[in-house]
């Protein structure tokens, strides 16, 4: 069955430190992959997405993600975290023939001052 897994429920980092949020997928073929961020009272905002081609994808707010087929992973990274990055992050995937996004269970990022 198709699935997306985010193994970390919570992550705490200090402001200015680097960040990596993990995402693994299980699909029959390479899916389209997305990272969304959800702040309290806000809708899900797209950070970046991967179709094909270059495996390092740049997104908004200084985020990037790297697709690794051999590890079935699509981890999100940021070199220096700001306090405003505290939020919940969701990885999602779908096949090109589908319109349904399948989401992971999310990772809540806490930022220490």
């Amino acid at each position: 069955a198709q699935s997306v897994t985010q193994p970390d429920i919570h992550i705490t980092v200090s402001e200015g430190a680097s960040l990596e949020l993990r995402c693994n997928y299980s699909y029959g073929a390479t899916p389209y992959l997305f990272w969304y961020v959800q702040s309290p009272g806000q809708g899900l905002q797209l950070l970046l997405k991967y179709f094909s081609g270059d495996t390092l994808v740049q997104g908004i707010k200084g985020f990037e993600a790297e697709f690794k087929r051999s590890q079935s992973s699509f981890n999100l990274r940021k070199p220096s975290v700001h306090w405003s990055d505290a939020a919940e992050y969701f990885c999602a995937g779908k096949m090109d023939s589908s319109y349904k996004l399948i989401f992971g269970s999310g990772t809540r990022l806490l930022v220490r001052p």
Binding site: G43, L44, Q45, F90, D96, Y99, K100
Partner: protein
């Protein structure tokens, strides 16, 4: 331009009551989706509209749930005989065309439903 809007932002109801949740998609978007997000979980697909028709309602949990999009724009999710287990955030999203391939889905802020 305006994003996806949802009303109400919060809804408290009693078990057994009927509720309607409204979604206004981005103007010109033909595809519309409803997802449900339970506490501590990621959103789960409920239903997909292409224009006025429900192209896929396979995610609706049971026949108490129903959704319409009569003019191909605004959509209403209807829940009959609400149960406490229906408590969740209901998210609406829209996309420009079919939603296939890498097309981005734009999400609204959600309606938080609490069934007492």
């Amino acid at each position: 331009g305006a994003g996806v809007s949802q009303t109400p932002s919060n809804k408290v109801t009693e078990k057994g009551k009927y509720v309607e949740l409204r979604c206004d998609p981005i103007s010109g978007h033909t595809a519309l989706y409803w997802y449900r997000q339970s506490l501590g979980q990621g959103p789960e697909f409920l239903i997909y509209f292409q224009g006025t028709g429900a192209a896929d309602d396979s995610g609706l949990p049971n026949d108490r749930f129903f959704a319409v999009r009569p003019e191909g724009s605004v959509s209403t999710l209807k829940i009959q005989r609400t149960e406490r287990g229906d408590s969740a955030v209901y998210l609406c999203a829209s996309s420009l065309n079919s939603g296939r391939e890498g097309e981005t889905q734009y999400f609204g802020p959600g309606t938080r439903l609490l069934v007492l």
